[in-house]
Amino acid sequence: MKALVCVKRVIDYNVKIRVKSDKTGVETDNVKMSMNPFDEIAVEEAVRLKENGLVSEIVILSIGQDSSQETIRTGLAMGADRGILVKVDDILLEPLGVGKIIKEVCEKENPEMIIMGKQAIDDDCNQTGQIVATLTNYPQATFASELKKNEDGTLNVTREVDGGLETIKVKIPCVVTTDLRLNEPRYASLPNIMKAKQKKIETIESKDLNLDISPRLEVLEVNDPPERKAGIKVPDVSNLVEKLKNEAKVI
């Protein structure tokens, strides 16, 4: 089974997001970028399947600018075999555009499993996996928290749904999107990082794919969430009780 893992370069989960002063978006200059954490889980799952002899080759796909090579290298250091970078100009790509590009790559690569995070932590769209499944007409197993390969080649995927877990069986080729509890990604060791430097990354210009990936939405304004009022410290218990009674009026 060949696996295509789609990864996105995003502002690091632990970075404090700053909105640009003209409110057109968020500040990305001089900001630490990393692989979308859900995608990291997707890479880890593919690598584990490969280690168990269930996946033969892992291809990492990222759509973005040159800098996304760094993100692909991270995946290669974790154990993937090669990478593909689809270069886009500096336009805000929407999930539909991403889905179209992934579909093109699938046609060339013919993966049997397309695996990616359930959502990217920057735009929180949670659409790409589903769109890819629609465009390719493959079955989809979203929000995976466990993945098993059956003897007949199908996959059993446990999904985190409201109120519990649901296990479904999907035929391959299929699209899997990963949830937080699927696994815990491994650390990258220096020898593996060095090996990753030797692995191939193919670059494709999105222009050459002749797809309409122009945005369908217009961003009107980006704003900070309302600031939370700072808490106060009370000097003693009686003061606390007094405040709860008279100010908060909860007791």
Binding site: D12, Y13, N14, V15, K16, N30, V31, K32, S34, M35, P37, E40, S67, E70, R73, T74, A77, E184, P185, Y187, A188, S189, L190, I193, M194, K197, P235, D236
Partner: protein
């Protein structure tokens, strides 16, 4: 005593003092729970005027004062002794940030400001404090200055001493010493603030200070290096400092035993390695290098790092996990009984000999001894803490403590180190100080102390 204090209390705000012994007693125990004292009263001055008032009064009436910050001292410096009629001045309410100057990159803040709060206030300006230590959520700037605190960033910004431009302090007679300046050069005779730095509350109360602050770098990468032998660690230290020089912002050592301790505290924490010694190395992008990650990795490709076992964090989340491993060691150690701590400093090229010699002598002393060894390797600073895995009564504890200290400190002296690198002397190391310093040095310290504190009321029983 309360009778004597009455006229003073009348002039203070009601929430500037506490006379309830039930509460006071919590302020009389040190962080490690090894020093328990008593105090007559606990003051919480809200402004400098109140500090002056209290100090003047105590001076007149010869009442001994213990200044207290976040009470994270590891040498019993911030708590009173037993039944000596001492009073505590706790600075936690004197906690305003007076000025942030993003042009000259300085901050002026009051002694009771908690370090973490100060860092948080600077963050929106893209600035950071020159110091970061494990106790940052509790310790205060005044306490940091009074102990000349080091911590995790010394390799980057130097200890707090090299970052202080001015100090405001109330001296034992109640006199206000004001030397708050934001200028970086000031050669005008003896620099008295240098004496207050590291004075552990024995010369006066630091009510405010002006510190250098720095542009907060946009990113960092944390690595964990593991080795089997300490001399391999030192070799790696040499190679890494040679190649990464000014990008290194921390170089911390942890032995296997200390890392294994935190599993008890935090069993979800995934420990990344095998080996007997681990180093946490933080590389910071001070130079705004584009694609910092690639830059670092290329550098590792250039030199012969082949034999080194290193993992490199993939994201800030992993950076944080790696730091948590280092920062949780003192907290995990606190859960153990019978740990005898040493905060020592040694010349880098002798650290391996010190560790080997001391460890083997200690094992001979008692096979139930284990070494919790961690610290700031980049600053030649080892926390060499000895855990006796046995049930000991008070007498047995005292005896083994004496023998352990003898081994450790005689090796420190033999290898030309220091018996206290960053935690200070307090009550814990008073006796050893006398052995470590020459008579002449001690004499001069006593003379200086007399000039500031002729009545000997400032934190008596600490340092000298």
């Amino acid at each position: 005593m309360n009778k004597i204090l009455k006229p003073l209390l009348k002039t203070l705000n009601k929430n500037e003092f506490c006379t309830e012994q039930g509460i006071i007693k919590n302020y009389c125990i040190d962080w490690r729970g090894k020093f328990k004292g008593t105090a007559e009263i606990l003051f919480f001055p809200k402004n400098v005027k109140s500090v002056v008032k209290i100090m003047k009064f105590c001076f007149k009436n010869s009442i001994s004062i213990v200044p207290q910050g976040g009470n994270t001292s590891l040498v019993g410096g911030s708590v009173p002794r037993v039944n000596k009629g001492e009073v505590i001045i706790n600075l936690s309410k004197l906690n305003k940030i007076r000025e942030i100057d993003p042009i000259s990159n300085t901050v002026t803040l009051e002694g009771g400001c908690i370090l973490q709060d100060a860092s948080d206030k600077l963050e929106p300006f893209g600035l950071e404090m020159p110091i970061s230590i494990g106790s940052k959520g509790s310790c205060q700037i005044g306490g940091n200055i009074a102990t000349n605190a080091g911590g995790l960033n010394v390799i980057k910004y130097g200890s707090i001493r090299s970052n202080i431009l001015g100090i405001e302090a109330v001296l034992p007679n109640g006199e206000l010493h004001n030397d708050l300046k934001t200028i970086k050069k000031n050669n005008t005779g003896f620099d008295l603030k240098q004496l207050l730095i590291g004075s552990e509350g024995t010369l006066g109360i630091i009510t405010a200070a002006t510190l250098k602050i720095y542009k907060k770098p946009s990113e960092r990468i944390v690595l964990i290096l593991s080795t089997d032998k300490i001399n391999e660690t030192l070799e790696a230290y040499k190679t890494i400092t040679k190649n990464f020089g000014e990008l290194i912002s921390a170089f911390e050592l942890m032995n296997k035993f200390s890392v294994n301790l935190i599993k008890k505290l935090d069993n979800k924490l995934k420990l990344p390695f095998s080996g007997n010694y681990y180093c946490l190395i933080e590389l910071t992008n001070f130079l705004d290098i584009k694609n910092f990650n690639n830059f670092i990795i290329d550098k590792f490709g250039e030199v012969s790092f082949k034999k080194m076992k290193i993992i490199i964090a993939k994201s800030e989340s992993e950076n944080k996990i790696f730091w948590r491993i280092r920062e949780e060691i003192p907290l995990a150690e606190k859960l153990l009984k019978n740990v005898i701590q040493h905060d020592v400093s040694l010349p880098l090229n002798l650290i391996d000999k010190f560790i080997e010699k001391s460890s083997s002598s200690l094992k001979k002393l008692d096979p139930k001894i284990f070494i919790i060894n961690f610290g700031h390797l980049g600053d030649n600073n080892l926390h060499f803490n000895v855990f006796v895995d046995k049930i000991l009564d008070n007498k047995e504890y005292k005896k083994i403590q004496k023998n352990i200290n003898k081994i450790v400190f005689s090796n420190v002296i033999k290898y030309n180190g220091s018996i206290s690198a960053e935690h200070g002397i307090g009550q814990l190391r008073r006796k050893e100080l006398k052995k470590f310093k020459s008579d002449d040095e001690i004499k001069k310290m006593v003379q200086i102390k007399k000039i500031f504190d002729p009545k000997g009321i400032m934190n008596p029983g600490k340092i000298i």
